[in-house]
Subunit: 530 residues, 2 copies
């Protein structure tokens, strides 16, 4: 078949008044030389990526006021004119996540080959929900899922030869992100509990009937969403001083529910908490799950990427015994946003939530859509495929080792500065700390003091964010060593490979400068009282 | 702040043995000139987009056998070498959706400026879950949601001035696709039913307690998923001869559930069924919903884009009275995959499923993540923003009118060929038909005949797909005019703006050729017996 686009399309135009206009539009959208657009986008990318911080001094209310137009444009404009507008009216107000001094969230600049792969993904426009709209790409998706599955679960070659490309089940699925991966894991666990565990109590009351999901208080909020959506009870167990689930408390909780005759559908272990990067005792939780016949899910959205790193994969010891594992490709693996994944140790688990439809996604096909909560999906697998081949396991090993090294450097830098208090040393590449205003140093800090210190740190973080030279995020959590009082914490994520030790020093100095200004404004009290 | 990337990163490298290797890797990934990669991708895009069909003659089992490698690469390779490999080993096996003779699914080539916008979206890497990782982009997202909201619900200017950019609620959300948009609509409806409708029956039995969702038998399979996930009963009502929900049957069903004291949480109207493109009587269903106090959701994943078309928006009459509406940007609006949307007529509905988290997505912020089921999300809003500005409403009007014209042309072409039977004339730009082997023409077709004709059409569609010169999909549905017997139907989607009348004629001739070969192979019987 030789179909040349931009060929004669007169056939469709006969008898239509605005034939010329229509043809011009189609030529513009599908047939024009895109070099001019491409160069224009290049320029915007480079400007954003490589020069000054895109966060303007503008207050958020002023940025907001620039986006009040609500009439869809009646007429189109040229792509070039649009890109000009974008350049002046939108890009300056974006968050400059690529900056090596933006250490606030689980973001990083992505390797530059990936947006080019993205262009290919969008041009191919393969829809991996079904074979007829993806063919080879669907097998490629199963292939990369298999590669990570093997890193996680380390089954033998026969296992993968049998399961990698088989129509009846899947070793894992891609999702739009960790939230959906976690929700699909819970869905699987609840379906499993439904089919295997006989309820020990009567079904007289709806509330008694709810299956139970247990994990630490640091579970990602996707578990709250999932439990609400699925009608399950989510029980949160306290953490120890290393911000890992307290195993004694977990055992007691399990026992309590069992004695009450409740169905424990799922135990959750976290490999990289969002707040601290801490990792639960995965092996022990898996063992406990086996003992009580509960599904064990590991939320490794943040930490899971480390499985590719020979030097650091020991941090995830025990993960091979989990039933399901979530990994976000767009976190540690630095893929574009939208690359969540859920892995099933036993491929048969993928069959518990299967669906199909008569017009496609046929029951007897290879259609991957039978296994996913989502329907139509882009071929995000190609990002992982490209990164695995271009960066390789050794490249990721190197990037992760550097990232962890940066986190340790920052922890040391915080500890050598008496103005700061390190709250959570980095188990991985996240750490939390706070600024202690001068009057609270070297004294025993009480509850009222902490309320003042919290206010001060909120002001500090907001000022730093507005100033725009460096950035950390903040969180609010109860802390064991302060008698479970809620503390406002500064939170740094050391993912960006372009961040240097100098950038870290700069960020801390920037904070000290801001903090001193805040303190001097209202001597003797915290600035937030102003 | 002046941060120049590719600057000295020695700080992070001190004391590390493989400092040079590490730096080289970082330079390659983040600092290298990407012109070579870009040109290489250009070449692949152009090859795929503009020349021959990418579907090889290879049988699916042979394609499968090419993706059996399951060891993640230990070492990286150059992007150029990777792209060479992709070009020879992967792209030839992709489905050639851009072909103007591929009329099988809801796909089209996307306007060429969009993959360039995609490159920008991925480079900016804005995460619209929260303000700190998106700023202006979060407001832009609310802005384009507002633009489509206005086209759908046509509220007055004061309404949008008050609701467009307000922290406490949202006019709509982006999702990864129509499936999640529909599930979020059901979630909203069920939460609403929970808070407003007192159950009329006792809660003695779990089953009696399930809230009810009612729509036609042609509801997308996302409703099956949603009902299972959320624990609701999904009731499917038959359709009339135009493949719209039978309103009398709907009324009877509603009455039956009400008399049984059951909670009707949601009525579903479809604007563009996946199988036929048919549109339910939206206005009447909205009225019925109001009368019984049930939420009305319109699944306009396929048809919703027509709201932008002055000449065709009347097809969606009544949609302004719906409570929630799903639209997929990646269908009629031809955006990249992953641009689902859910709109709330009353912004307060967005608050029913709100969630927040301490480390971000704060309750009192503008963080859009409070309203979404998903967490981290890419700025897909920019695709819609760009398309609205570059194509404009008038451009979409033109594209839709041509698309509908192509569908009418194909319907006529089918009707003039005695070998085909048109099953569903196009209400929009989808139609279904089937081939009638010679021996079944001009006779009264009975049930056994239909079974043979079904087999024949399955063979025809599979052969055509394998031959690879043109493509339609197939579906299997019960059909009124054949006494509700299940029929295999050929299904054409006339979305691709590059498809000409000649392409349509080609496709039908291609089918006739294949059908004749099939018939001649085994004279007098259908080929599928072979």
């Amino acid at each position: 078949m030789n179909v040349v686009l931009n060929s004669d399309t007169d056939g469709a135009m006969n008898g239509v008044d605005q034939a010329n206009n229509s043809q011009a539009l189609i030529n513009t959208l599908f047939g024009s030389n895109t070099t001019a657009i491409r160069d224009r986008v290049d320029q915007s990318c480079r400007k954003f990526f490589s020069s000054t911080d895109a966060v303007t001094d503008m207050q958020i209310e002023d940025v907001r006021s620039k986006f009040m137009q609500f009439d869809a444009p009646a007429q189109g404009q040229s792509a070039e004119a649009y890109l000009d507008m974008l350049d002046s009216e939108v890009l300056p107000h974006c968050s400059h996540l690529a900056s090596p001094r933006y250490l606030g969230h689980m973001t990083s600049p992505i390797p530059q080959f990936l947006p080019e792969i993205g262009r290919l993904v969008q041009t191919l426009n393969q829809n991996v929900v079904k074979m007829e709209t993806s063919r080879g790409m669907a097998f490629l998706e199963r292939q990369v899922i298999g590669m990570l599955h093997r890193e996680i679960f380390q089954a033998d070659r026969q296992f993968y030869e049998a399961h990698l490309q088989i129509a009846s089940s899947a070793l894992g699925i891609f999702t739009s992100g960790g939230t959906l991966a976690n929700i699909c894991a819970l869905w699987t666990a609840l379906r499993l509990a439904d089919t295997t565990q006989a309820p020990e109590s009567t079904k007289a009351s709806h509330t008694v009937d709810l299956p139970v999901i247990i994990g630490s208080e640091l579970m990602h909020y996707s578990f709250d969403k999932g439990a609400q959506l699925l009608g399950a009870e989510l029980h949160k167990v306290p953490v120890n001083s290393l911000f890992q689930i307290d195993l004694d408390a977990l055992r007691d909780t399990v026992e309590k529910y069992r004695q009450a005759g409740r169905k424990i559908a799922c135990l959750v272990a976290i490999a990289g908490t969002t707040d601290y990067g801490s990792i639960d005792a995965i092996a022990k939780i898996c063992e406990m799950g086996r003992q009580i016949g509960a599904h064990v899910h590991v939320d490794a959205a943040w930490g899971g990427g480390l499985i590719l790193s020979q030097s650091n994969r020991h941090l995830l010891d025990g993960i091979a015994h989990a039933d399901t594992v979530t990994i976000d490709g767009h976190k540690q693996l630095m893929l574009p946003l939208g690359c969540g994944m859920l892995f099933f140790r036993d491929a048969a688990l993928s069959q518990l939530t299967m669906h199909h439809a008569p017009y496609a996604v046929r029951a007897t096909s290879f259609d991957q859509g039978r296994f996913t909560l989502e329907g139509t999906r882009p071929a995000t697998a190609l990002y992982l495929h490209a990164a695995l081949h271009i960066i390789g396991k050794s490249g990721y090993d190197d990037l992760f080792s550097k990232s962890l090294q940066r986190a340790r450097y920052m922890a040391q830098a915080i500890e050598t500065r008496p103005e700061f208090e390190l709250i959570a040393a980095p188990a991985m590449n996240i750490l939390t700390y706070r600024y202690i205003p001068e009057k609270y140093r070297n004294i025993k800090i009480d509850d009222l003091d902490n309320i003042q210190i919290n206010r001060f740190n909120i002001s500090l973080q907001k000022w730093q964010r507005q100033k725009g030279d460096s950035f950390v995020s903040r969180t609010f959590r109860t802390i064991n060593q302060y008698n479970n009082q809620g503390l406002t914490l500064l939170r740094a994520v050391l993912l960006n490979p372009l961040t240097t030790f100098d950038d870290i020093d700069f960020l801390l100095s920037d904070q000290l400068d801001i903090a001193r200004s805040l303190e001097s404004e209202i001597p003797g009290v915290s600035a937030s009282r102003s």
